[in-house]
């Protein structure tokens, strides 16, 4: 009789311990999730505006796409080279530096892979960006 009681007691004890463990873990997870939400609510940045002008202190960027490799080499043609390849009415960004002129067709500059080009013009290193 005594041995069976002891076995039974151990079983009940184990069951209670298990129950407490499960409830505790559950409780901790719940708290963790709630705490994260509180954190996010607190760190939501205020929008830029007259009372909140853009500056390093108000800089809150968000990721949209992976970082793109820098473009340092791309084809540049003379007027002869590009004959017929750029339509007359296509918009370009035109720059003239120290007498050297270059056109960057906007239709070649859209999208995250293309929005900045590292170039040199008239001896100056320039970033052509759209």
């Amino acid at each position: 009789m005594k041995r069976r009681n002891k076995y039974f007691e151990t079983l009940v004890l184990a069951g209670v311990v298990l129950l407490i463990s499960i409830v505790s873990v559950f409780g901790v997870l719940e708290y963790w999730e709630w705490s994260e939400q509180q954190q996010q609510a607190v760190t939501m940045p205020p929008s830029l505006g007259p009372d909140n002008p853009p500056s390093p202190e108000t800089f809150y960027p968000g990721r949209a796409v992976p970082e793109q490799p820098a473009i340092t080499k791309f084809k540049i043609g003379s007027l002869e080279d590009v004959k017929g390849q750029i339509a007359e009415d296509e918009l370009v960004i035109g720059v003239s530096v120290a007498g050297e002129a270059r056109a960057y067709p906007i239709n070649m500059m859209t999208g995250p892979q293309r929005e900045v080009f590292n170039d040199t013009l008239g001896g100056r290193p320039i970033a052509a960006t759209w």
């Binding site: 084809k75 007027l79 918009l91 370009v92 720059v95 960057y104 239709n107 070649m108 892979q113 970033a127």
Partner: protein, 210 residues
């Protein structure tokens, strides 16, 4: 269009993949600082607070550009779009041309400009000319030339200064006839921008005619 030099360094820029209020954030390879493309200013990293020098540029159609600059070269890579043409810039919201001088900003909505038009305006004590030619190309020039502060008007479809009645090419800022022939107005770094983006990043900006 920016000069890539800061202090003694020449930087190499890439698209960081991040946006700040829908606006492009660049990263430089040399220091991995993050830059606002619209402001040309580093916002985070070793170079935070540094400002790139803007190089004035013009958005115009290829025919106009190559006619005025027959020696020009052109970038020639595959297209990612086809819609950017003289007749229209794809846009859901209003476009403007904006300028910042000595921390003061001013902008001109494109739809307020009736091509061809010459506006004699000023910003931070700098007299400037906002001109739109018949094709719709907009440019901002300084109106001061040596001791003169010129005033401009379109007369018989030609950009003319009222002092000497010389005519000027809106695309190059160069006088093409009259006593001023050969003289050159300075092109200022006007930025073509969506109205919302300009307002977000230049919250104190003035607006012409508004």
């Amino acid at each position: 269009m920016y000069d890539r030099r800061i202090k003694e360094k020449t930087l190499t820029f890439a698209v960081s993949g991040m946006l700040w209020e829908h606006s492009l954030v660049l990263i430089d390879n040399e220091t991995e600082s993050l830059w606002s493309q619209l402001l040309g200013e580093a916002m985070r990293g070793k170079l935070a607070g540094e400002q790139l020098t803007v190089i004035p540029s013009l958005i115009t159609d290829w025919k106009s550009w190559r006619t005025q600059h027959p020696e020009t070269t052109a970038m020639l890579i595959s297209r990612t779009a086809n819609a950017y043409r003289r007749q229209s810039i794809p846009s859901d919201e209003p476009l403007l041309i904006g300028l910042t001088i000595k921390g003061k900003s001013r902008a001109w909505f494109l739809k307020d400009l009736q091509a061809p038009v010459a506006l004699n305006d000023q910003l931070a004590d700098l007299p400037l000319l906002v001109v739109q030619d018949a094709q719709g190309t907009v440019a901002i020039y300084g109106r001061s030339l040596d001791e003169h502060v010129l005033k401009f008007q379109f007369q018989e479809n030609k950009l003319t200064d009222l002092k000497t009645h010389s005519t000027w090419d809106p695309l190059t800022g160069k006088a093409i006839s009259g006593s001023m022939k050969g003289r050159q107005l300075k092109l200022l770094p006007g930025i073509l921008s969506f109205a919302h983006a300009w307002k977000t990043f230049h919250p104190q900006s003035e607006y012409w005619n508004r």
